[in-house]
């Protein structure tokens, strides 16, 4: 088999597989959040005990050393589920600028539907972001490509 055909076929397979980018949730330390350009980010406060039903949108966020001050607006249950659940790859890609603050359930119980609050880091269980899983996104196609080339070699060489 012509080597050029092998190469073009392999590149086509790689590109088609690479298009299937894999996203997943990763924890984010608060000190790193302060180093990020925050202009395009969307912040949400999630009740850690009820993540699919009790979610607040955080606007006018000011992130300090030990606390975050913001204006909270409670989302409907449908919106809350959309924010906290990743249903598909396109959903994950659309949510890549979302930052979820998981609040301690006892603290979250006392939050009103709309209010201005200062939330200290002690009242947060974790912060999560959605990022690309590079190994799955690039590693899988490259591994497939390598295996494919190996098989081609074995077939062509007998």
């Amino acid at each position: 088999m012509n080597y050029f055909f092998r190469l073009s076929l392999s590149i086509a397979i790689f590109c088609s597989l690479a298009a299937c980018s894999k996203y997943q949730r990763y924890p984010l330390p608060l000190n790193k959040l302060k180093k990020i350009d925050q202009e395009f980010l969307n912040y949400y406060l999630v009740d850690a005990a009820h993540p699919t039903t009790r979610v607040w949108y955080m606007s006018d966020c000011k992130i300090g050393e030990q606390e975050i001050s913001c204006y909270l607006t409670k989302l409907t249950e449908v919106e809350a589920a959309e924010i906290s659940l990743i249903t598909s790859r396109s959903d994950a890609r659309a949510s890549k600028n979302d930052i979820l603050f998981y609040a301690d359930p006892k603290f979250a119980l006392g939050i009103q539907d709309t209010c201005t609050r200062k939330i200290s880091t002690d009242q947060m269980q974790k912060i999560e972001v959605i990022e690309l899983n590079h190994l799955k996104t690039y590693g899988t196609p490259l591994l497939s490509l390598t295996g494919f080339l190996g098989l081609l070699f074995l077939i062509s060489e007998g």
Binding site: H134, L142, T146, L149, L151
Partner: protein
Amino acid sequence: MKNQLVTLLFALAAFQPVLAQSLTKPTEDRMPKLIVCADVGFQWFNVITRFSSLKIEYPVTPYRQLGIRFSKILSGHDYYYGFGYSQSLKNGSFEVGIDSKYFPHGRFTGRKTGFYIGPDLRFGVRKFSTFVYDFQTGTNIQTDFKHLTSKLMLAWGVQWHFGQHIVFDLSAPIGIEYYQTKDPRNGNNNNTISSRSLVMLPTIMMGFAF
């Protein structure tokens, strides 16, 4: 051997969920000043060779490394082309190369993955001896010739750091090799034949980070 290696590459897929885990505070980790490595591997497709290399890698940033290598192509691989005609690699075959490794990282978290990708360029010489059996005299007639090689490859692999000093690396660069054959049997030593082929170089590397 070839079958086993293909199986091994597919088996690596099973480790993906483990390899994809976050490293702890990557940007706050101590970045090595220099990594000295030794590797073994072999080249697939067209001319099959085994090689052993010494390599020095310099981490420019936590996510980028530059490397220089010297590879000695191991002799002793014989190719038989039929009754009375064989060819083998001679001592003195070598390659030198440069490469760059880029480790993708988390957009917000800075999470560094073990997976890397980057360009890999290698240049070298392969020396061969051909043996043709002369039925009239009953002796082998030896002719030497060489390949001048240039490889342009996409390097990809996974690199693990155990503790502060030990580095383990699995890679399988894929690319194109251009080579010129200088063969006296062409009638003139200056006559060269150029060719190219697809190559893949599965490699295992161990290193020490300073």
